[in-house]
């Protein structure tokens, strides 16, 4: 049996899946004061009467780290930067204490000026005096050569609680993002570690023989142990849980739009030939651009609980949520009240809902019923308008080869997959405005938890070989090894996949058989004075993110029995 749990800002969903069927699902309110209790209470509910030995997998998607950031309950950070020449590093000093160190590495990973030990020692003394125990060490071009970051770490006194080195986070180039990612990683480490410890206690008490996994923003999972060093990857996993859930419920091989319509927001994602799109540079977390690899997801402030207002004679929906619907005792009218008024949803006190809509409608010269229709149409129109803007941006993303310019692959969605509780009720309006079939799979309301349950471990690696210098570097592993001058793209690919396999076996032993794929590969001849002096080879490999589709017929039967 697989258990998946997705903790959102308002609700926490859990599902129990066995034999390709959702056996049980439940939704509980999230208690922002006690996340751990929210998790254990929800797990207890979904597992009631189930014998511990039957559970084979527990995947969690949580907001503990997000919440720690939002409420300012993160650890103070000491930031050691090695920016070298370039943009002014003053803009990046996001730590409580920041040190700009001497030393530099160039784009090919060659040290171009040395570290100064005394500077590092002085920083060390100041950090210890200030009682700062969480550090981030980030150098420009460290993924090309991690030796300076490692040397800085080695020069510090022992006893710091948590240190993030930039090269460990990602092989992608982007110094400012690396700085912010490293700081966030260290800042939430303590929160995450406390949460992970509590989960471990919970599972150990039940004598579950497996390691729980945590969801990441890329639609994959990581074992609880492995995520302790990379908590930043777990920060925004909610949207990817939903996307993976949509894929499990409605697998497709076409270009498609995924809408996750929730209480406060509608999250928009895209599939190209059935495969989710990624954020090209990494996601924004807590207002900072990061290197965290993530499925593309745009959050629009429009949902079932969005606050309705009349402003300058026009209806305005959201972007804020004031509380639940009027029908449920909330403070303001919402689209949910519109659905209740129209009779599409039987929930709470219908009289309260239509009263609120009548009041609002009188200011617009509409009856409650007319207004209810107008609300849903306006909501659908706003979603479609945003989808079109996003598609235009995606379809004009730059490409760097003649081949890609000429191919000009464009994303042209042929269908919409809508999930989230209000999705089935909004489908007619969406279908009308999109002019595309809108598929609302059964169990759309708990797609996020299903996605969590069915996601599989993922990880990625970057291999850079410079045969002129005779090195290959794998920054995520902190690895630098010699290569012979005849080292080729073929051999680089082979080595990258081999290292990825080993990394996966270490991070998620149960998933060792997963399918690996090459995401990017390039090989450039390096020339000096009209002679080829070597090859500059770049290979990026990853574990292919995937979900096992549910058995659709059974899911249908279950849905009818439960909803």
């Amino acid at each position: 049996m697989f258990v998946g749990l997705d903790m959102g800002g308002t609700h926490t969903d859990a599902v129990l899946i066995a034999g390709g069927q959702v056996k049980r699902h439940c939704k509980t309110p999230t208690d922002p004061e006690d996340f751990l209790r929210t998790v254990t209470r929800t797990l207890d509910a979904v597992l009631e009467g189930v014998e511990g030995g039957q559970v084979e997998r527990l995947n969690l998607s949580t907001t503990v780290c997000t919440n720690a950031i939002v409420t300012g309950r993160t650890s103070p950070i000491g930031l050691l930067l090695e920016p070298g020449p370039g943009l002014n590093p003053a803009a990046l000093t996001c730590g409580q204490k920041n040190f700009i160190l001497s030393g530099s590495i160039d784009h090919r990973g060659r040290p171009t000026s040395p570290l100064v030990k005394e500077e590092i020692k002085a920083a060390d003394r100041e950090l210890r005096q200030a009682g700062i125990r969480h550090l981030a060490i980030v150098g420009k071009f460290s993924p090309r050569n991690p030796e300076h970051e490692l040397a800085i770490k080695d020069t510090l006194s022992p006893g710091y609680q948590f240190i993030t080195t930039g090269h460990h986070l990602s092989g992608r180039l982007n110094f400012p993002r690396r700085v912010f990612t490293a700081c966030l990683n260290s800042a939430v480490a303590a929160t995450f570690s406390a949460f992970a410890g509590a989960i471990k206690t919970y599972t150990t008490a039940r004598q579950w023989p497996f390691t729980p996994h945590v969801l990441k923003a890329d639609g994959g999972t990581l074992s609880l142990e492995a995520s302790l060093s990379l908590p930043v990857e777990t920060i925004l996993s909610g949207p990817s849980a939903s996307i993976m859930g949509a894929l499990a419920l409605a697998p497709t091989t076409r270009d498609a739009i995924i809408l996750d319509i929730g209480g406060t927001t509608t999250d928009i994602a895209f599939l190209a030939d059935g495969v989710p799109l990624y954020e090209p540079r990494g996601i924004n977390l807590a207002g900072y651009p990061t290197l965290v690899w993530a499925l593309f997801s745009y959050s629009l402030g429009l949902g079932g609980d969005s606050c309705l207002r009349v402003k300058d004679g026009h209806l305005v929906i959201g972007p804020d949520r004031q509380g639940p619907a009027l029908a449920l005792g909330g403070p303001a009218a919402t689209p949910t009240d519109a659905l209740i008024t129209m009779g599409r949803l039987d929930l709470g006190d219908k009289a309260l809902a239509s009263q609120g809509l009548t009041q609002l409608g009188s200011r617009l010269g509409m009856t409650a019923h007319e207004l209810a229709h107008a609300i849903l149409q306006q909501m659908a129109a706003a979603i479609v308008a945003r989808v079109e803007t996003l598609l235009a941006a995606i379809n004009s993303q730059p490409v760097y080869t003649v081949r890609e310019v000429l191919e000009g692959r464009q994303l042209r969605p042929r269908q919409v997959i809508a999930i989230g509780a209000p999705a089935p009720l909004l489908a007619p309006e969406l279908e009308a405005v999109f002019g595309l079939p809108v598929l609302v799979p059964p169990l759309a309301g708990v797609a996020n938890a299903i996605g969590a349950a069915l996601s599989q471990p993922t990880t990625e690696l970057t291999l850079l070989a410079d045969t002129q210098q005779g090195f290959l570097t794998v920054p995520e592993e902190g690895l630098r090894e010699r290569v012979p001058s005849g080292f080729s793209l073929d051999r680089a690919r082979h080595r990258a996949l081999e290292l990825l396999q080993a990394r996966l076996r270490r991070l998620a032993p149960a998933a060792a058989g997963a399918e690996l794929e090459v995401v990017e590969e390039q090989s450039f001849n390096m020339v000096s004075g009209f002679y080829t002096t070597g090859k500059n080879i770049r290979v990026k490999v990853q574990v292919k993110p995937r979900v096992v589709p549910l058995d659709r017929q059974d899911a249908q039967g279950e849905a009818e029995g439960n909803v």
Partner: protein, 437 residues
């Protein structure tokens, strides 16, 4: 986080799958380290900097500028069309008001490509800036445009294309043609009879340093631009004046290129040459981007930079000061000089030999231009190559007066293909067509 004071559009097209040949300076690797530097500095995350996707220019966009023999398809590759299209995308972003400035980091370059194209010259087949500018004029109306060419080589192609065009002021700073390809670019190349003085060359001596380039900018280029009052300033941003460039002898730096662009404030910059792909391009390109976007560039420098590497001798300083004075005086007297030049003439002819270094082909041109006070004047070029090709090119300028236009058509009618076995071309810029018989 960083914020641009000036909205900047970037078109980056490194053509990672195209080379002239595997070890040629114009090869796949050329912009690899520039891309690394741009990515690592997080340039694309700077608020106000927006990256655009390059597109392919149309054959008609090329024919507006060039007469390719026998036709466009025979003289260009897809990569040339995309580089030209990339420059057009950059310019359009500015003209549509989406950004304040734009920089097209595209390859291959184009400033050695002339009006007639029999092959490749100095790594160039078609002229990216000219194709871009004529596209702008066609779609966004007439413009006074100044091209400031800061490539180390004289942009003889751009000079040729705008030779008869008073609305396109071409200014080139370059290493003296007596010491470097293509061997042209002197003060006496002052423009055609109807645009005399609108082609300004400043041949700088070898070993010119940071100070020399910046003083040429202050004491020559900026004053000329203040007189000319262009609607648009274009920088042909070649980067081979860098002290590490393997094929030139100058002593300019990334910091210098950034300062130059900061002072010049071009509306659009287009990459030209520059073959120190590791030691210069990554830093120069980042410097130019920051200067155009109005972001602090004071920290940009090459890892091996030292003031001695960019210093120049007193002799060089004195020479440049004299050169600037002399050239500026000529510019101020351009109307008087023109009157002397055309006195009593109805038409003016010139005969030139043009070498295509890639093919090893020699072209001989005989060009005649009608003297005209109302337009750039009708020109026709009798062009032969040492491979036996022989064509006639008739060029009716964009601003042609009725007489020059009519005479151009009449000449096309009357010329016989028996005299020009490889074709008679009529580039009709008023009607925006290219005819061939």
């Amino acid at each position: 986080m960083y914020k641009a004071a000036c909205r900047l559009g970037l078109v980056f097209f490194p053509a990672f799958d195209w080379a002239i040949d595997p070890t040629h300076p114009e090869r796949e690797e050329r912009l690899l380290y520039t891309q690394d530097q741009v990515l690592e500095e997080g340039i694309l995350d700077i608020e106000g900097i927006r990256e655009y996707r390059a597109r392919r220019a149309a054959v008609q966009d090329v024919e507006r500028v060039h007469i390719c023999v026998p036709e466009v398809g025979a003289r260009v590759t897809e990569s040339h069309l995309i580089a030209a299209g990339g420059a057009i995308v950059a310019a359009e972003a500015v003209l549509k008001g989406e950004v304040d400035k734009a920089f097209a980091i595209v390859r291959p370059p184009g400033h050695h490509a002339m009006r007639i194209v029999h092959g490749a010259r100095g790594f160039c087949n078609i002229n990216m800036e000219a194709i871009m500018l004529e596209y702008i004029r066609r779609h966004y109306g007439p413009k006074r445009i100044a091209i400031v060419d800061t490539d180390c080589h004289h942009g003889d192609g751009s000079q040729d294309i705008y030779w008869h065009d008073k609305d396109s002021l071409y200014i080139s700073l370059h290493q003296d043609g007596r010491t470097l390809y293509p061997g042209t670019g002197f003060l006496n190349e002052f423009g055609g009879p109807n645009a005399f003085g609108y082609n300004l060359n400043l041949p700088l001596p070898p070993e010119t340093g940071e100070e020399g380039f910046l003083s040429a900018l202050e004491h020559f280029i900026l004053p000329v631009l203040a007189d000319f009052k262009p609607d648009l300033v274009i920088n042909s941003a070649g980067q081979d004046n860098h002290y590490t460039d393997p094929i030139t002898n100058m002593r300019f730096s990334a910091q210098g290129y950034a300062r130059l662009n900061d002072r010049l404030q071009p509306d659009i910059a287009v990459l030209e040459g520059g073959y120190s792909i590791e030691g210069a391009l990554p830093y120069v390109n980042v410097g130019i981007i920051l200067a155009l976007a109005g972001v602090d560039y004071s920290g940009i420098r090459e890892p091996d930079y030292s003031p001695e590497k960019v210093a120049q001798s007193q002799r060089v300083s004195d020479y440049i000061a004299r050169l600037c004075d002399e050239t500026y005086q000529a510019w101020e007297q351009r109307d008087t000089l023109r009157a002397e030049y055309i006195r009593g003439k109805k038409e003016i002819s010139r005969r030139r030999r043009i070498y295509y270094d890639t093919e090893g082909l020699m072209e001989t041109q005989e060009e005649t231009t009608l003297i005209c006070d109302h337009c750039g004047g009708l020109s026709w070029i009798d062009s032969r190559t040492d491979r036996g090709q022989h064509i006639l090119a008739i060029l009716i300028p964009r601003d042609a007066c009725p007489r020059c236009q009519e005479e151009g058509h009449a000449l096309f009618e009357r010329s016989r293909t028996t005299d020009y076995p490889d074709g008679i071309y009529l580039q009709e810029r008023v009607e925006d067509t290219l005819l061939k018989k």
